[in-house]
């Protein structure tokens, strides 16, 4: 492909990917009057008031970000703690059980989990788990386990078996082998799996929507939906846009920081499948 064509295509790709977000950024910095006036009036009408409105709301917007961060981090830790031993055991087994568990995990990984929300909600009500950020980590970990186990077991399977055998002969226990030999070598896979789980938990909507009703406990996704459905913020969308920008910035940072690991994680998933 010639350089000129390629540059044009890359520009098109970036415009398509970033355009909507850039438009949100633009909108968030404009006064309602400037937005209603339509295009043309670039000279005046710039403001930070939209951010003020969102951050000064009750509860303030950063609260949702904090809630999502807490849920994301705890769910990630819980998922990894459950998935690592399971993936290890699965990667060391042959035969029917491995086939069954592997197939079941793949089916669960592609299962549209939104179907499960009602039963999970009932469990939450019966066990008194509603309106608890900690409890939200349980379904999140459960829902992300299939993908996490599949990714991690592929990473375990890629390690040369004699590394672990050598450690066995040196007298290492299972925990010592994991702690000193296997997990350090799987660092990239663990990080990328963790990131995928974190992204899911940060973004999850239907379960958070039904489990959490107290507004100071809302995570980002249901909070955004609530903003969209409420009349607290004025139309047009200045304040909405400020909320979308604030909700996107942490993820943009995460993406730029861990671009390589996320790509590697998805890639492994593809090879595995």
């Amino acid at each position: 492909m010639r350089g000129g064509t390629r540059t044009a295509l890359v520009a098109l790709l970036l415009l398509w990917s970033l355009g909507p977000m850039l438009w949100q950024l633009y909108t968030s910095l404009r006064t309602p009057e400037a937005l209603l006036a339509g295009a043309g009036g670039l000279a005046g009408g710039w403001t930070l008031a939209n951010y003020g409105a969102v951050l000064g709301g009750d509860p303030p917007f950063w609260r949702y970000l904090l809630n999502s961060t807490v849920v994301g981090a705890l769910s990630t830790l819980l998922t990894l703690a459950l998935a690592i031993p399971c993936a290890y055991a699965l990667s060391r087994r042959r035969g029917l059980l491995r086939l069954l568990v592997g197939g079941g995990l793949l089916a669960a990984a592609v299962f549209p989990y939104v179907l499960l929300f009602l039963a999970l909600l009932q469990v939450a009500r019966q066990l008194g788990l509603a309106n608890s950020l900690l409890a939200l980590c349980l379904p999140y970990a459960g829902l992300q386990l299939p993908l996490a186990v599949l990714l991690l077991q592929a990473a375990f399977a890629e390690l040369p078996p004699e590394l672990e055998e050598s450690a066995v002969l040196e007298g290492f226990s299972l925990w010592q082998r994991l702690r000193w030999i296997l997990l350090p070598l799987m660092g990239p896979a663990v990080v990328s799996t963790g990131l995928l789980v974190f992204l899911f938990s940060w973004n999850e909507f239907p379960i958070a929507l039904t489990w959490i009703s107290r507004s100071e406990l809302l995570t980002l996704a249901p909070a955004m939906a609530r903003i969209a459905g409420s009349s607290v913020y004025t139309v047009p969308y200045g304040a909405f846009a400020a909320a979308t920008v604030l909700g996107s910035v942490p993820l943009l940072a995460l993406l730029l920081l861990f671009q390589r690991q996320i790509v590697a994680g998805l890639t492994q998933g593809a090879i595995k499948g």
Binding site: V10, L13, L14, S17, P20, M21, W23, Q24, L35, L36, G38, A39, L82, P85, C86, A89, L90, R93, V101, G104, A108, V110, F111, P112, Y113, V114, L115, L116, L118, A119, L120, L121, L138, G142, L143, L145, P146, W202, N203, F205, P206, T210, A221, M224, A225, A228, P236, Y237, F240, A243, T244, G247, S248, L252, L255, Q259, I262, L266, T267, A270
Partner: protein
């Protein structure tokens, strides 16, 4: 045996999260539990299932969901392949562009759905700004049943194409470069190379991407709930949204469980048909 012990905690949580709900629905779908029963469960036999079979909205939503999924995933595969081919070539700044192009996929669906709602806004959204500057009347993108579902497809393609592109990029990187060199030495053009080498070798990746995306698109919920709320006149409503409305708005839990189980059975049928078709295609090949 100790390996079973290591797997046990994860498998137990999986059973609780995936298997228990389906069993629960199976039971609940044979009960009435709604405002009319005072939210108590009352056994009603197959009444919910009879209602489902005769429920025009369920079948309409099933058709709409299928249309949404097929059109979105087809567009995503084509656009994803094009982007993957572009990102597979070597050029300066490729890494940065790759992570920027990934941004739509990483954002919460509710966040971006809200963004698209503004873009499609009538009359103040930027899209209608363009329309107006051309001297035309504004278009009610989200208020017209013919256009609203297209808007949901556009937003979905925008959000999930990066994921497809990344999977296909991984596949492209698995193809050894010397295959193309050998093909070029035999006089093959790049276009022929794409058709004779790239696509056949990429097939497993395309299959996986299509499988993941189809499953997700058939379960679409967040995007529609925030972008259109299923409207106008439930013309963009998906099965998941309908099931949600039954439970959370109409408080008809028995029927909601029936809708979800019905949707699950339809998915199962679809998956079985797909597997059969693929096996037959393999045998035929």
């Amino acid at each position: 045996m100790s390996s079973l012990l290591l797997m046990a905690p994860a498998l137990l949580l999986l059973l609780a999260v995936f298997v228990w709900p389906l069993l629960d629905y199976a039971w609940l779908s044979l009960q009435a539990q709604s405002v009319f029963t005072g939210l108590e469960t009352v056994p009603v036999g197959a009444a919910n299932w009879q209602r489902l079979l005769a429920d025009g909205r369920f079948w309409q939503d099933a058709g709409q969901t299928l249309r949404f999924a097929l059109v979105s995933v087809a567009l995503e595969l084509v656009a994803g392949l094009a982007i993957a081919l572009l990102l597979h070539q070597r050029w300066r700044g490729r890494g940065t562009v790759r992570s920027l192009a990934l941004l739509p996929w990483a954002l919460p669906t509710t966040v971006m759905a809200l963004g698209w709602r503004w873009i499609f806004n009538d009359p103040h959204g930027p899209l209608n700004g363009v329309v107006q500057s051309l001297g035309l009347a504004t278009v009610p993108f989200l208020a017209s049943p013919d256009l609203a579902w297209v808007a949901t497809v556009v937003a979905d393609v925008w959000k999930t194409t990066p994921f497809v592109a990344l999977l296909l990029l991984a596949g492209l990187q698995m193809i050894p470069a010397d295959l193309y060199e050998a093909f070029a030495l035999e006089g093959g053009t790049p276009w022929q190379g794409l058709r004779r080498i790239t696509l056949p070798l990429l097939r497993p990746y395309i299959f996986i991407a299509a499988l993941f995306r189809l499953a997700q698109a058939l379960g679409v919920f967040d995007l529609i709930a925030v972008l259109t709320g299923g409207g106008p006149a439930s013309s963009t409503e998906s099965l998941a949204v309908y099931a949600y409305l039954n439970a959370m708005r109409f408080l008809d839990f028995g029927y909601s469980a029936t809708v979800m189980l019905g949707m699950f059975l339809l998915l199962l049928l679809g998956a079985a048909a797909l597997l059969l078709w693929r096996r037959q295609a393999e045998v035929g090949a």
